[in-house]
């Protein structure tokens, strides 16, 4: 791989990546924050509903964590889709290889 490659001269890929990163991480942070607030400032534990609410808060936090952890895969997917749409097939294949490697690591446990 000795050839040189321009760094996204038209900024379309960078713009898409920024949009995906801000949207997904913002959504994840909101989920985590809401879950955290519910867990920490929920009703007194003596209240039977507090157990439900506490569990719901934990669940929301975990959902936020999972959304955040999916971000790298979504970013690779975004890059692959951009390269495929721009008919930069060699680069789309590189993105696909990374995505498959990531998915196989997740499925097989690293």
């Amino acid at each position: 791989m000795s050839e040189s490659v321009p760094h996204d001269p038209d900024d379309v890929l960078d713009r898409n990546m920024r949009r995906v990163s801000r949207g997904l991480s913002g959504f994840a942070l909101v989920l985590m924050l809401v879950g955290f607030v519910i867990s920490v400032t929920g009703p007194h534990p003596i209240d039977v509903h507090a157990i439900d609410l506490g569990a719901r808060g934990q669940r929301l936090m975990l959902d936020g964590i999972i959304v955040l952890c999916l971000l790298p895969a979504v970013r690779v997917l975004t890059a692959g889709a951009y390269y495929a749409a721009a008919r930069r097939l060699a680069q789309a294949v590189v993105a696909l290889v990374v995505l498959l490697e990531l998915i196989s690591s997740i499925v097989t446990g690293g």
Partner: protein, 256 residues
Amino acid sequence: MLLALFATGVAAGTVGAMLGLGGGIFLVPALTLAFHLPVRIAVGTSLVSVIATSAGVAAAADHESGADVLLALRLEVATAAGAVLGGLVAGLVSPNALAVLFAAVVFATAGYTLVKSLGRTSDEAMYRRDYRPRRWTLGSATAGLAGMVSGLLGVGGGFIKVPTMYAVMGVPLGVATATSNFMVGITAAASVFVYIARGDVLPLVVVPTAGGVFLGAVAGSLLQARVKVGALRWALIVLLLGIGVQMLLRGLRGGV
């Protein structure tokens, strides 16, 4: 405790974003030593936090300071290939010998970065878009070696990818750190779901830490634009020397 976790996250995220390391290298010792968390919980928290750093850097980036996506993907393929090779030779090579070998590579990288920095001007730009990465073979080989040892020795390879991209491949330092943060996010995502499935990701520990890391990463990205390239370069060299010494001692003492 929650505020302390948040503050630790902010500090790790700021430094991790500025140096392109993700922050895990600081978080695991802090969580185990200062907060007395079990190593598995600390690693699970650290993996989510590395992804939070990656997300924070990406969210704060603009056209100039964004990661070089194609460079990251290509080096990531080399890193994965190195990890597979590492798995194949795991039974053939002593981990202690590998630790010594990796320490030698870390020292060589620090020395190379130092030598290359002598010829650079003081007004070197942190970000540029008109560069073209060069010496792909050497860069890919170093990324592959980082992948190989990361599986065998349990260390992340982010600290060696930044100087490789910067000093060997000619990538501007700010772009190299953003690219490295993108890469360490991918690497962390590959293993974090195992920790989530095992119950080693505790939401009440992770959320304040990762939230702090995210904010720290955004702050670190903005701060990086105000720092001189020379200062960041010296911080990297000192860090590399520290990691090299630690790795060498682990290898020589047989503690791997």
